[in-house]
Amino acid sequence: MRCPHIERYLENLGEHGYDHNDVSPANPKYNCIAWAAGEDHRHWWPADWDLITYYWPPHLQREPFGQQTLQNFIKAFQSLGYKKCWFSYRQKGIEKVAIYGTPKNVPTHAVRQLESGEWIWTSKCGMIDEDIKHRKLFNVGGNEYGKVIALLKRRRDGKPFLIDVIKNWLTKKFRS
């Protein structure tokens, strides 16, 4: 199914930038941040003005209208086991998330990497539109979502990265 309304606003998506055969129905019950975090039943946003419509991990700070920070979004994904990374290519056993934002680093959108297949990324387009699969991060970037401002990764099996295990071990050893 083609989504002309999405193509119109995401100028780098075009007709061929996403998978026409795997577009979900439009669903207002979740947004892109929730979808990137692996959920499809509520909206994620650190909104301090509405604790009912918008979920945010309870241990993290909610921010006032128009003052959302990249750091808060990164912390939310870190609470799901993600850590910062620098490359977006696919790696076996690794799941990645990209956060888009404005030139002032205000988050606007997030996408999640798929484990396999021709289409690499999955995006829920906003609060009410469809979720789509696209090949490149560039496909959904542009005037509306801005560009990628953070990349994060975690192991798909839920275990910590070896480097983090070693770091923790060394920290404990030298503290004691």
Partner: protein, 177 residues
Amino acid sequence: MLPERIKLETAARKNPFIKKSEDITYAKRELNDWLKEHIDPSDLSEKYLVVLQTTHTHIHFSDNVSREVLSESKKSSDFEKLKKEFNERADRWEKQTGFHSSPVIRFMHNDYQSIMAKGKEVIPHILYRIKRKPDDWFWALRHIANFDAAVASGATNFDEAVAAWLKWGVDENYISE
């Protein structure tokens, strides 16, 4: 287009009931229905009222009744106009911001702001909209009504917030069930 005077003369001629009625309530309803059916409500103005009072003395209504009937028609016409404008703006807002997750971007959109600026008159239209097509109209409702029905009802998720606002709308007579 017929001049107003002729339209109203025709109105009286075509509806003999208007001349006969002693029952004011029934007559009001009849006249109102007739006006709705035969005269474009958006054309109604003070001019009609003056013509009605000066040229149709055979219409057995007091000035107050005529005024009330026309005022009700005017209200209904304003409601329809606002409904039309609201739906146009809401559709455009949804199209132009539906793909955004940021509530800030969505709420700062020109059409959302314009709708909020309409004040309490727009509340029924918002409530009918969220009943038909749930979306985040809560920010607008909270600011216009100066009250948070979702918080007051103890809602814990989006669906419960929608239900709470609709119940509030019924309780406050903004919408019917």
